[in-house]
């Protein structure tokens, strides 16, 4: 089989005869641009990864160096003691905030998704989007002036939980609404068809099948509560002692507050070490919650697929 030569002159390889395509300067620019682009992308990514590794490594290095058994068994009040009061306080405040955010946030999310054509649902959705954007220090300010000073609760667990609860409300609402939206309509129709009312269909049919998504939202709210500092400084104060069980008029310690108070304390020996230990603990706690939330979400996606 003969090869048909399409070039008029012999020897030169075939090049398409369009105008700008043959401009070798353009080809050079395209090649260089390709390399520069990938180099930039790689550089940016490596820079980001490097920062991440640096921060996590620093947290682990300073934190692990400061971790000793006393950190988990003694409160800060015992001399140069530990962080037991801060750990207990973080758990108490976060769970308290969840107790407030979960029922009301879920109710709002359920209403916004199941009755989505009503005006109230649009109001909920719109104001929820606005509430998400309110900075936490503004919430802390309002909580301080209303609850701590005016209502006379002083720095207390209740003021802290209400403030954090309101901060977490829109997250729970949004994730609940999104999770419920994923549930196919025919499930609801089947529920209504066999005679269920609103309550039965929502609580026993729709919600259970959207549970992983809702759990993710609740865990997201938990991780936000654990990591918050500014509103807590004003509503919960800070205490080196274990929680005395009172909801009013009694400040409480928490890990992020431990970092804030201790890093600046030159007089108590070992204070800086405790601050690093607290930073390590709170970072691991937040990362752990996020990992669990992701595992739940992945499980749901796998189940659905």
């Amino acid at each position: 089989m003969t090869v048909v030569q399409t070039t008029p002159s012999g020897g030169a390889p075939f090049k398409p005869q369009g105008g700008r395509q043959t401009n070798s300067l353009l080809m050079l620019r395209r090649n260089v641009g390709e390399w520069v682009g990938w180099a930039w992308a790689a550089f940016a990514f490596l820079g980001l990864a490097l920062i991440m590794v640096l921060i996590l490594a620093w947290v682990c290095q300073t934190g692990l160096g400061a971790l000793k058994p006393a950190v988990f068994t003694e409160p800060s009040s015992k001399g140069n003691g530990g962080l037991l009061n801060a750990i207990e306080g973080t758990l108490v405040i976060s769970l308290g905030a969840l107790l407030i955010a979960t029922p009301f946030g879920m109710a709002a999310g359920i209403y916004a998704s199941e009755f989505k054509t009503t005006i109230w649902a649009s109001v909920i959705r719109f104001l929820s989007d606005i509430l998400v954007g309110v900075p936490s220090i503004v919430m802390g300010y309002v909580g301080y002036v209303i609850m701590v000073v005016t209502l006379g609760w002083k720095q207390s667990v209740l003021a802290a939980c209400v403030t954090l609860g309101v901060i977490s409300l829109p997250y729970v609402c949004r994730t609940t609404e999104l999770a419920l939206r994923q549930v196919p309509m025919n499930l609801r129709e089947a529920g209504f068809a066999i005679g269920g009312g609103d309550a039965t269909v929502i609580l026993r049919v729709v919600l259970p099948s959207a549970l992983p998504g809702v759990m993710t939202g609740i865990l997201l709210a938990l991780s936000i509560s654990v990591g918050e500092t500014a509103p807590l400084i004003y509503t919960a104060g800070y205490s080196n002692y274990m929680w005395d069980g009172k909801l009013f008029n009694s400040p409480i310690g928490y890990l992020t507050g431990a970092i804030w108070n201790l890093y600046n304390d030159q007089t108590t020996p070992g204070a800086a070490q405790l601050a690093y230990a607290a930073a390590f603990l709170v970072t691991m706690l937040v990362l752990g919650i996020n990992i669990i939330a992701r595992v739940i979400l992945r499980g749901q996606q796998a189940a659905r697929a």
Partner: protein, 337 residues
Amino acid sequence: MAGILRRVFAFRTWLAIAGGVLPVSLVIIFGFLVIYAWPAIGFNGLDFLTQNGWDPGDNYSSPVMLRGVMASPGAHFGVLFLIVGTLCSVILAVAIAYPFGVAAAVFLAEIVPGAIRSFVSFFVELLAAVPSVVFGLWGIGVISAFPDKAGVTAFQHVCNWIVATPPFEWIPFVGGDPGNGYGLLAAGVILAFMIVPLITSTVRDALIAQPAALREASVALGARRFETIVKVLLPSVRPVTIGATILATGRALGETMAVLMVCGNALGVLPKNLFAPISTMASFIASQLDSAGADTSGLVVKSLAEVAIILGLMSLVVNTGARVLLAMQTASQRERT
């Protein structure tokens, strides 16, 4: 019990009432802030936004009637430095985070193979979860790391070098006084680290979600891989990119603790260059609120409420703008497919 509840109200009504806590609390927050700050808004007037200088007045002299309110003599509040500090730090943070975030997202979406990609993206998203105060502690650690014999830290050496070296020392906002490490640069960089994961993960998801047909068409026209990304894919996800960046801006506006620890806490001065100390609205409220109650006229607390209102309104505008943009994007995409 459920039967009794059902007889009082339908389930739907209970749900509406319980769900109403969310909108009602937002109304309470903003309503309270405006009502509480009203005397200070009247006292401060428009000068609040255009003047510098936070002066609670002479608290140890008798109060006098100033502009219709019993105030300490000489009381005058102007927060221009806070507005400028907030805007400068946020703009610097976004200016750093946007190119890095988008480039990293491109790398993650296009180069990193699928299995590793979810692992790595997972790590990037974890960075977004690190609490603000831990970022601040790390920032302080970096700024004060490696002091030499005279006590000058490595970071300070870098700042001194930048300010003295030819190309940089002539750039208007860069040359000049190298400061002491705590200032606009530190705050902006830390904020950038905090918001980069938001931009990266959103843009990465959007890039992956682009239909294969778009890529194939571009390659069929002879484009190289990176050209496809820059000229076809990135423009098609531009609303998402911009929306994510604006949402990240909203987050940066509200950051308190990390900024408070590294910004240098300026009072009443505008930053002269990148290394000058600043104060942001959020960090200022956090540092002044606990001593505000000592002012007998109440104007300090109420002026802080005014600052909180301004901050809240800024975040509101930014977040709503982002959501409108993202809604437009999803609407136009729905039309396309």
